[in-house]
Symmetry: C2
Subunit: 301 residues, 2 copies
Amino acid sequence: MKDTFYHYIVDLQNRITAELEAVDTQAKFREDIWQRPEGGGGKTRVIENGKVFEKGGVNISAVHGKLPEAMQKMFNVSEADFFACGLSLVIHPKNPMVPTVHANWRYFEMYDADRKIIQQWFGGGQDLTPYYLFEEDAIHFHQTCKTACDKHNAEFYPKYKKQCDEYFWNTHRHEARGVGGLFFDYCRATEQMSMQDWFNFVTEVGDSFLQAYVPIVERRKELPYTQAQRTWQEIRRGRYVEFNLVHDKGTLFGLKTNGRIESILMSLPPHVQWIYDYHPERGSEEEKLIRVLEKPKNWIN
Amino acid sequence: MKDTFYHYIVDLQNRITAELEAVDTQAKFREDIWQRPEGGGGKTRVIENGKVFEKGGVNISAVHGKLPEAMQKMFNVSEADFFACGLSLVIHPKNPMVPTVHANWRYFEMYDADRKIIQQWFGGGQDLTPYYLFEEDAIHFHQTCKTACDKHNAEFYPKYKKQCDEYFWNTHRHEARGVGGLFFDYCRATEQMSMQDWFNFVTEVGDSFLQAYVPIVERRKELPYTQAQRTWQEIRRGRYVEFNLVHDKGTLFGLKTNGRIESILMSLPPHVQWIYDYHPERGSEEEKLIRVLEKPKNWIN
């Protein structure tokens, strides 16, 4: 399973970066290959200062070795070996009419002293963070998520949509990071779902990513915008930074276990602003976005 | 003691904001008075888009009530009433040749059921974060700190200077936030130091702040700078954000105990950049700063 999934994310990284370069028409991803001293490594691909994408990363990694102490506690096991691989991406477009997107698909294995697998699961998801709300974009993104889910289990979309709203909740701001999507974790074999079934589901979602995001980029990337709208985007990016640095478990885990900092923090937006106690005007497009973030809605009935 | 110290910080806030307005010559602080639903409140003063100061806050607060659960754990007590007051400031100048400064002075009391004080202490400090290193500025700042400390105890400066270097260590970047200053906490009455002695020491440091910072601002604020130097400042401000959101105990405590968010996050800089894997040129002024941050040095022999 681990080799199969690893080959899948290698191929998916290639497909996603090729397609995003085609959309951008100008910038190319640069690639950094890195090794983890304790075992494994990764391939980080970053695009900057593109025509469409101001900054973005599409990274894969496959790491293994002794389970770090922080994770032993988390999973309630003593010493064990582990393997983990995944693809993580965050794309920050230049035009404030184009939403930021984040996605991640990952697989995890833990072994006993005889190298027998004692635990294994999949996790992941994809979610959208607009600066200006086009309802049809949120609906398209969620519909694509739902179509991928429904091929596997009709309960998945509502369940993972809700988990996404809960996970990407910026507690100290009392608002969601964005308009959500899917979030799932600890997808383990059950009577209903074998690991192969989970693999089929997770890769279905991974395969849906470009279809979920690229049409939105295409229809918004040429829209005109003002300097004030750009300022609003940079203020909202501040909330993205706050979520990632204060609440995001993956980011904090990476920072506290000596992960490759630049690969982890590629998720942070390029230009960001913090203005004291900023509130958009009543009835404005900016306020409309906030109202939706304060109370996550169902985009599909 | 609590009334005496509260009156001290009220007066100090007035002195500091008046002096900084005089230095800026253009922008004024705006004041927000807020109430804490559980008891007490604060007076937040923020300056933005000044000639010299791009963003800054000089805030006081005095809060009381039942000790929040998170603090019960921290101080290893069960239910108790508390009182806490303090002044917190962060100033982000526009010109990258002028360093950012942070300072904080605070007093804390805890009571038993009969309103008898069971614990009380002072804490605080002040520290400097340059974007371009002028050694004489770091020396002046530290010398002013040392002069204030030495009036009370010759061991204070080396001890609190070291604690400052340790506290403002950006672990995941393997570098200090800035060139340090003083950091002290849990200053309780001992045989050598009564609470009155601590009050005298803490207010001595508070009184030294303007002398420590303003001369540096005055001699750098008119220096010319390039767009590239401004970019470097914004990148380094990103490290400031990372420290405050990932490591700073005060910030995280405020965020997790429903503090007044805008007063807490006034510490975040106005314009910030994150560029993937940015490294300054070998031998440049930018690299010189990093070398010093990687290995905090003694500014005074």
